[in-house]
């Protein structure tokens, strides 16, 4: 790097030092494995692909579920728009402007696209009911002034030609202004004429996004203007609110005079928490859907906790689950998660029979042989004949076992929920407990649901005759509906339920049947609700109890910065650590920060600098001493050390020549640099109240 700049030139006030990335740029984009001792070269890439596929499947399912949450809301909004101006109460003093407020805090904005699609284009052929309404969108950025707001609304509609043909040119000077609502009225008349719509059925819908961000004064004027034009202009407003319907933002912000002009109807979403439970249940505990990766109780716990505590947004839930997937695929073995992960067996063998895959194979071998996949008797002999193929086929077997187990687990869990629901409906309050559905999920995944189903089964035994028959039918129907392959597995319990059902139909004594049924179901649950960790190689498909990396979702930057300043060594990658004495290679900013923590509210910058100098001098002296010690004792010098030593010796000579001044300039520059960094981080406040002093901004005592 040739920097031909003369730093001593006084005529140059500013010097540009170009940035040269001297570090070797790592051309290999794959990040280093966290477990290099049992990973192989392509592992990361393959795991990444597997993760993408697994998450994609899960995401698709969840998006469908979220979408289905939207449907009823969209439907009710569309219904209300259609009915507007028709279902008015007779005898009101003046027509009211219909306003529909939709609370969309936890929902994505696609909702409004759906609504406008439904209103504009969707045609209900059954009733020849064309939804040919006009929709325009208003965003807060358009509405800083009333002129802008009206212009957006008017031109949003008027830009569409009423006749569908060529638009007639309007002269800007002698025609109506583009923000004049009279223009909209003229346009609407033309539309109605063109469509031969004598009853004026088309509505003009204005969707106002982020309604809270709009300037209340502007909104007030806008509503007043619009309300003076109804019902000649059938305007309908849809407000997208982020705030909850109660306490209502609209009623708290706007005066009575404006509210009296509107007819506000709320369209609330179902409670976010309920949708969360539903989505979790339908994604991971639905017998008909098999996610590639089963999430464990810690992840469910974290997701629910985060959802109720910090942000009840379903997008947040998606991020959490995606992160859980990514975390899961950090484990080298998880490369085997999808079926035929490594291609067909031949390719697989090729991939795995390279020298750098041996650690991986080794680990896999150890796991397979440590599991129940290999019959203990064969242990002594089988390891000799183990090949890559046989290992992979063992993994296949393990996969099948795990799949089946999870599937049966889900069915049993759903049955428990079903029984619980039945008991709740029949007003057995004691079942409720304080467990929510996610709580039950976690308990079940940990295999600790015994007390819950025990309780339920004991309640079955006390059911009166009429309810028992209902109950038997419910259970019977439940097993009727499940998939065929599960039926084959569960024929024992199914036949038992069948028996009980028939017995009840034949009027057997309720007592016998109920206690039998209770015992049978209890047995069945006991068999199926077991911790998934018991399956061989479970950790390939199941995240288990691995702690969730919550720092990634909800970090604490302040704590991290403080910790970084106090213990910089924890953040510097281990390769760069060389000294054993901690003080010796503290970065300048950390040295400064130490002084910062020890000082009072105001810091004298000069004193600070002095202490910095003292610290550096002490360090320099120490380095000098060790070096001198090295020189005197120095017999075992490695060649690489030699160069360094020589440099140091040069330095010693420099020092000896007495360039103290230069050293001081360097120290001062380093001080200023570090001070600037602290300033940039916001630790310093320049008050100017006291000369040479700056103020501390952080007063916590870390540690």
């Amino acid at each position: 790097m040739a920097v031909n700049i003369d730093l001593d030139d006084i005529n140059q006030t500013t010097v540009y030092i170009p940035f040269h990335d001297s570090d070797d740029v790592n051309t290999d984009t794959t990040p280093p494995s966290l477990f290099p001792e049992r990973d192989f070269h392509q592992g990361c890439q393959l795991r990444f692909q597997a993760c993408r596929a697994a998450w994609g499947k899960c995401l698709k399912r969840m998006q469908e579920l979220i979408h289905s949450l939207h449907a009823p809301v969209v439907e009710s909004v569309v219904e209300q728009v259609k009915k507007s101006y028709m279902d008015e109460l007779p005898g009101l003093p003046y027509p009211e402007l219909p306003v529909i407020s939709v609370t969309s805090s936890s929902m994505s904005s696609s909702l409004f696209d759906e609504i406008s699609f439904q209103l504009e284009e969707n045609t209900d052929e059954l009733f020849e009911d064309t939804n040919d309404h006009f929709v325009t969108h208003v965003f807060p950025s358009d509405c800083t002034t009333i002129t802008g707001a009206m212009k957006t609304i008017v031109s949003g509609f008027v830009s569409r030609s009423p006749t569908g043909g060529q638009d007639i040119k309007r002269k800007p000077s002698t025609s109506l202004a583009t923000y004049d609502i009279a223009l909209l009225e003229t346009w609407y008349r033309a539309v109605c004429d063109a469509r031969d719509d004598r009853h004026h059925r088309s509505r003009l819908i204005v969707i106002m996004h982020d309604f809270e961000q709009l300037e209340p004064q502007v909104v007030q004027d806008m509503f007043e203007i619009c309300s003076s034009y109804i019902p000649r202009l059938p305007l309908v407003f849809i407000l997208a609110l982020a705030s909850p319907p109660s306490p209502s933002y609209i009623r708290a912000t706007y005066p009575h005079a404006m509210l009296a002009l509107l007819r506000v109807r709320d369209c609330p979403f179902p409670l976010a928490e309920k949708s969360l439970h539903n989505i979790l249940l339908e994604t991971f505990f639905d017998p008909t859907f098999e996610p590639d990766i089963m999430i464990g109780p810690t992840t469910i716990d974290f997701a629910v906790e985060f959802f109720t505590r910090h942000s009840s947004s379903l997008d947040g839930l998606l991020s959490i689950l995606q992160l859980a997937h990514m975390k899961h695929f950090e484990e080298p073995l998880s490369v085997l998660a999808p079926a035929q992960a490594l291609g067909w067996s031949k390719d697989a063998a090729q991939v795995l029979l390279t020298p750098d895959a041996f650690p991986f194979l080794d680990a896999l071998f150890a796991r397979v042989h440590g599991s129940t996949l290999i019959v203990p008797v064969e242990h002594a002999t089988s390891w000799r004949s183990a090949t890559v193929d046989s290992l992979l086929s063992s993994v296949e077997t393990a996969r099948d076992i795990f799949r089946l187990r999870v599937k049966l687990f889900r069915v049993a869990f759903r049955l428990i929920l079903c029984v619980r629901q039945f008991m709740l409906v029949h007003e057995r309050k004691s079942v409720q407990g304080d467990q929510t559905v996610p709580d039950l999920m976690c308990l079940a995944l940990r295999g600790r649901l015994g007390s819950v189903y025990g309780h339920l089964c004991s309640m079955i035994k006390t059911l009166p005759a009429a309810q028992l028959e209902d109950f038997a039918r419910v259970v019977h129907d439940f097993f009727e509906d499940i998939l065929e392959d599960v039926k084959a597995e569960e024929n024992e319990v199914i036949s038992r339920v069948e028996t009980a059902y028939k017995m009840l139909c034949r009027d057997a004594t309720t007592q016998d049947v109920s206690s039998l049924l209770g015992d049978w179901l209890s047995e069945y649950f006991k068999l199926r609700i077991v911790a998934l960790e018991d399956a061989p190689l479970w950790d390939i498909w199941y995240t288990g109890s691995t702690p969730f990396p919550c720092e990634l979702i909800n970090p604490s930057p302040r704590a991290s910065i403080l910790a970084g300043l106090i213990h910089p060594h924890d953040y510097i990658s281990p390769g760069q650590l060389n000294g054993d004495d901690e003080d010796d290679d503290l970065p300048d900013i950390s040295i400064l920060f130490k002084g910062y923590l020890e000082s009072a509210k105001m810091i004298n910058v000069y004193d600070w600098f002095e202490s910095f100098v003292v610290f550096l001098e002490a360090r320099k002296r120490r380095v000098g001493e060790t070096r001198i010690a090295d020189v005197t004792s120095g017999t075992s010098r490695t060649p690489s050390k030699k160069g360094k030593q020589k440099q140091a010796e040069d330095k010693v000579i420099d020092e000896d020549t007495g360039e103290d001044e230069e050293w001081l300039v360097e120290v001062q520059a380093r001080f200023i640099h570090a001070l600037q960094e602290l300033d940039y981080l916001g630790f310093i406040k320049h008050t100017g109240r006291k000369a040479d002093h700056v103020m501390r901004t952080v007063f916590d005592s870390p540690e």
Binding site: D87, L89, P90, G91, L92, P93, E96, T147, M150, I168, R170, K171, S173, T174, S175, L176, A177, Y179, D180, I181, A182, L183, T186, R189, A190, E212, D221, E224, I225, S228, A242, S243, P244, P245, S246, P247, S248, Y249, R251, A252, H256, L259, A260, L262, R263, V264, R265, L271, A272, E305, F307, T308, R309, H310, S311, S312, N554, S556, R558, A559
Partner: protein, 536 residues
Amino acid sequence: MALDQANSLSRLFEQFPGYEKFVSHITSVTSSFALPFLYITDRHNPRITASLLDQIYRNSGDCPSTRFAHINATACFTARLLYDTVLNALAGWEVAWGNGCRNWPGEDGKRYNDSIDSFLHGLRNLCDKSWEGKARGNGRMVDEEPTMVLLVERAERLKDNLPDLIVPLTRLAELSQVKITTIFLSSARWEDIKPPLGASPDPYFIDIDPPSKQDTIDSLIFEFRSTSITQAHAGTQDKTYHPSLLPLYEQYVEHVYNVCSLYTNDIQELQYIAAARWPGFVKPVLQEQSEANADGDSDSDGTCNELTLPASDGRMRLLKFFTPSLTAALDVLYPRLTNATDWALANDIDMHASEEVQCQPNAEGSIVVDHLPRMSKFVLLAAFLASTNPAKSDMRMFGRGADKQKRRRRKSASPKKAGAQTIVAKVSQRLLGPLVFPLDRLLAILGALLEENDVENRPHEPYFELPGEHTDMELGRVHVYAAITELTSMRALHRTTAVEKLEGPPMYKCGISFWVAGALAKDLQVPLNDLMWDPM
């Protein structure tokens, strides 16, 4: 013609009871173009007065040469909009999409909307043109220049929107040399919007008196009649507004007035409430009728035009029965917590099984706060405390001392102190509105709240050993800041410093009421009253 005039006047008197004097006053003032500038102050029902004026001038039979423009100062928020609207209305020009939404073209093809001068020119032009037209049409009226009336509704808004136009508008006749009367209709006084330095001439003032009880009732009854006419035209089977119910309605309206007039005597509000309750009120009567008809079933096909009304004791019972629901309607509908249509549907009660429906939850008890995440609730509560407690009290309120109960309580020292120092009673901060507080203070109070009330609900983390360490960690988390930002975007918190400003901590103000804070505290099981410096 005279008959016509008398007819229309009597119709007006009927529609707008209590305005008789005003109507004769104003028609006499404007018909002879005596005054160029009128100022009408109506503090009660400017909307009704506006529609009355509109009707007087729009279908005025007495002076056919009157041209009339009715504009709303809110709607005309730019000068151009005002010029266009006024000229189009005065010229009776219908803007059509087919010709490119052209404004009234005049005859010289110039634009009249770019400045006050061209507007005046347009006015002059309009006047000449219509005069000419008249002159050519019938020679009798040649000598009579057409008069014009410009009615500006909500004139108080001119002051914000078009302050420069007030003076020209008040001197319109003088400036344009046209017989034009400008009427400002406003709920504010002229003194409040008068331009400085006497630039405008003083107007001719007319004040509208508040409507008397009888006027209010009469106008509501008129509305009933017109509704029943429109209903009959629409051909609905619904008999809610059947003309023969009128006597019952009169009694009903009087009752509504008696119940509600304590809180509002705005005609339109009363009409709103009356309209919401009437279908439910009249339902038992109609039901009885239809039952009677079904028994007789001779003429049940709608030919029976007369409905028999209940006897006087029956009416009294009806009124008594519905009194509580009228106050409930007032409670909910006057602040528009819901709308009349939905309220009428929800309260469409059955006479026979109505005892338990009456318990309408009152507005304050029904605040539901379960839409927010837990941390946001704590943030809001902390913001409320920061906005109501004085900053110097924080240490005492939230500090964890040995004898915290003693310190925390404000005790009854305040009256003593107040008595000793000053006689002026201090108004509670809760009533004065929220104080501004910096972000740091919010976080500190939030930390105190979390430490006291949230530790048990948090999942246990083994690596935090010191007391309060975990709370400290939680406070610094990104999602706490995200919650604050989100609440700001919901306007539950107001940020008072600009977003671009980096210097200094951002300042906030709390946007929730005491009642919401109370509901939040109840939900979180925080003893809010103990934490307030000035408890309830």
